[in-house]
């Protein structure tokens, strides 16, 4: 049976539908962000950029910038350790031989957990009284290292990042492992013949050859930091005060708890702008580097 253009369209239809719905929703969100919609029922009262003015210069300025600052903390503190640990583990797994079969699922397991589950677990571990972290410090005679963790407004965001690093390292590791396995074995053999140690091989052979994996890992993790929500919701509910709020959390609270639907839509437009502003230049830059 010959495949015709009609077949192609038929098979593409679901995809087209998804794309249409997605862009339709985005356009709808932008439209809502320009309206004065407060309350449960839709209010189509156009008031231009007023919502953005309230967010950037008005009553919600402090809240917006707290969320923005926290998203930036996520961006800076979360990506580097997750990527580095992932690469390190991937190379380690490549070296350990048969034990890999046991170890790989072990490191991958966290990513299979729901964030609600891992968030609850980590909140227990961070518990200043009964939590395993402080108690471990106390057992080792390092009681002065014990911290209030998520109960400390200055530390709480970093605690959330810690939980996320634990959860996402396996993801980075998988992509790196695939990249390392993709490399021709001759390179490793050549390095060994030249007398390179494992550390030297890692530094001079592995790292220069996994650039494309890094690009994917970092781009995905950037998106993770921009849409982080569940861990914040479960572990701190944005608290203490609003100290751990991030943009998606702010968006949800404004839209559904406070029913400032216009404001909530404006926050999601800001998230979209941020995502495009961060990811597109990054992808462009790393693609050019890879091509070079």
């Amino acid at each position: 049976m010959a495949y015709t253009r009609a077949h192609a369209l038929l098979f593409l239809a679901p995809l087209l539908l998804i794309v249409l719905v997605m862009y339709g929703m985005m356009a709808w969100t932008v439209a809502v962000s320009l309206d004065d919609w407060v309350g449960m029922a839709p209010v189509w009262k156009f008031h231009g950029l007023e919502n953005f003015r309230t967010l950037l210069g008005g009553a919600l300025r402090e809240r917006l910038f707290t969320s923005l600052r926290n998203n930036l903390i996520w961006l800076v503190v979360f990506i580097a350790p997750t990527t580095a640990l992932g690469l390190f583990l991937a190379y380690g797994l490549d070296l350990v031989g048969r034990a890999e079969r046991v170890l790989r699922p072990l490191f991958l397991y966290p990513i299979a957990l729901s964030f609600v589950v891992s968030g609850t677990l980590w909140a227990w571990m961070y518990d200043p009284d009964a939590g395993v972290i402080n108690n471990l410090f106390r057992m080792l005679g390092l009681g002065r290292w014990a911290q209030p963790w998520i109960a400390d407004p200055h530390l709480a965001t970093f605690c959330l990042v810690g939980a996320a690093v634990w959860q996402y390292t396996g993801f980075a590791m998988t992509l790196y492992l695939a990249a390392i396995r993709d490399m021709p074995r001759e390179i490793f053999e050549a390095a060994r013949v030249d007398g390179a140690t494992d550390v030297q091989t890692f530094r001079h052979v592995v790292i220069p050859n996994v650039g494309h994996a890094t690009m994917i890992v970092v781009a995905m993790l950037i998106l993770v930091t921009l849409k982080v929500f569940d861990l914040v919701w479960v572990m701190t509910f944005g608290g203490p005060g609003i100290s751990t709020e991030v943009l998606p959390f702010f968006m949800f609270v404004a839209t559904f708890r406070q029913q400032f639907v216009g404001i909530g839509a404006a926050v999601s437009v800001l998230i979209l702008i941020l995502a495009v502003a961060v990811v597109v230049p990054y992808a462009w830059w790393s693609m050019r580097r890879l091509a070079a």
Partner: protein, 434 residues
């Protein structure tokens, strides 16, 4: 191409036809009641079953299509409903809280008047007047309440209070004095238990502080935006007193939920805590005995003891598909027998005046029922019963921040700005309507 046997084709077609038609036929054949609510936790689920059983007994031909949505105070349910109502596919009834929360649905034209049920069941006579006020908007009733929780309880550890010869405090000043005693004689005990990881328990503690320093009139005015927050001495005084409490709070409150700290309070690692009557159910379930491990007292007693109330309510959505079932459901809720049996399991109290105080097996709920009938009832601020929900969300942020950095002037600025943004005064007109 292989030709499929004809019989298979027919089977497939018939199966498809039956599957499409079945729901339609089924719905036409049987009356339904599609209900959405947030009673999903242990005791709540069983309590709901009590109402379902009573309803089915009276309406045997109506099938209940139950849609429980977990999430305390209905925050998740509201998200679900928002979509359904906007899409004009309302259920036959859903749960709300009376007051500002209910007003949101009224403002969206999503609920219809229940005046017929209200009049037929003589609720003006059978329910306290304040309940009528909290369900009345634009001159009509829009919800049928069925149970009340009391928010102003002070739970305390009985053994600890006996050992230190402490009487249950009646004002916040006495609470601070008791906390001081506990702190000096038992340095390892946190005098005041509180868990603010979910934020809202901070509002419970502030509410009793405001009632103690300002009394119920100030309380009602504050939460409906009738006070000029920046200049009113009452708000400053309440915040000052709230600040005085901070040194006696369990220090890691930001890492705990209210249910995390109820146990340690009953065990004697913490002294006392301000929370709603729902904590009693949790304590009893965990095996702690009222009068032995813990006790509770209405708080504050001065300048005036009030019943700070949260009311669960069901509504009649506009355009509900099975209007008779909705009416039957709402009517069933007003039955004193149903209210009594439901509330024993739910851990709240009935609001129908015909339900005797002795209905409840425990001391706490008997006292709650007595107070409900004899003392002034004040709508609680929590979950948007008195104050609009938008403000409540900002308010718990302001209060939890204050607990970590108690700057009164900054807090007053924050409250004033939130009240303006959330239009607290404008949207609270219903409470003061005559």
């Amino acid at each position: 191409m292989i030709r499929r046997p004809r019989i298979t084709q027919w089977l497939v077609i018939m199966l498809a036809a039956v599957m499409t038609a079945a729901p339609v036929l089924y719905a036409a054949d049987q009356q339904q009641l599609v209900i959405y609510h947030w009673w999903t936790a242990g005791g709540e689920r069983q309590a709901m079953q009590v109402i379902f059983d009573a309803f089915t007994k009276k309406n045997p031909s109506t099938k209940i299509v139950d849609n429980p949505v977990a999430g305390g105070g209905g925050i998740t349910l509201k998200t679900v409903l928002l979509g359904m109502l906007a899409a004009k596919i309302p259920p036959d009834t859903f749960q709300s809280l009376s007051g500002a929360e209910l007003k949101q649905y009224v403002d969206g034209d999503y609920v219809a008047s229940v005046d017929d049920v209200w009049r037929a069941q003589k609720l003006d006579a059978n329910y306290p007047a304040v309940i009528g006020k909290m369900t009345t908007f634009k001159g009509q009733h829009y919800g049928i309440p069925m149970n009340a929780h009391r928010a102003n309880w002070l739970f305390y550890n009985t053994k600890l209070f006996n050992e230190l010869k402490l009487a249950p405090p009646t004002t916040v000043d006495e609470m601070i004095a008791a906390a001081k005693r506990i702190k000096s004689s038992k340095p390892n005990v946190a005098p005041i238990a509180i868990g603010t990881r979910e934020k809202w328990p901070a509002v419970f503690l502030f509410d009793v502080t405001l009632l103690s320093t300002g009394g119920p009139d100030v309380y009602e005015k504050f939460y409906t935006g009738q006070l000029n927050v920046k200049t009113a001495p009452e708000v400053r005084a309440a915040l000052q007193k709230f600040k005085d409490l901070i040194p006696y709070l369990y220090q890691f409150h930001g890492a705990k939920t209210w249910s995390d700290i109820a146990g340690p309070m009953a065990e004697g690692q913490m002294g006392m805590m301000v929370i709603g009557d729902f904590a009693a159910g949790l304590l009893v379930q965990a095996g702690y005995k009222e009068g032995v491990d813990w006790d509770a007292a209405g708080f504050p007693k001065k300048p005036q003891e009030v019943f700070l109330m949260i009311v669960d309510t069901f509504v009649r959505p506009t355009g509900a598909k099975h209007p008779e079932a909705t009416t039957a459901w709402l009517t069933n809720l007003t039955d004193p027998k149903v209210q009594g049996e439901f509330n024993i399991v739910k851990g709240s109290i009935a609001i129908h005046k015909a339900v005797p105080d002795t209905t409840y097996p425990d001391k706490l709920h008997q006292e709650a029922s007595r107070t409900f009938k004899s003392k002034r009832i004040v709508p609680s601020s929590i979950h948007g019963v008195l104050a609009p929900p938008a403000f409540l969300s900002d308010w718990q942020d302001i209060l939890t921040r204050f607990l970590y950095s108690p700057d009164i002037n900054r807090a007053l600025d924050e409250i004033s700005s939130a009240m303006e943004l959330d239009k607290v005064s404008d949207s609270s007109g219903w409470y003061w309507a005559k």
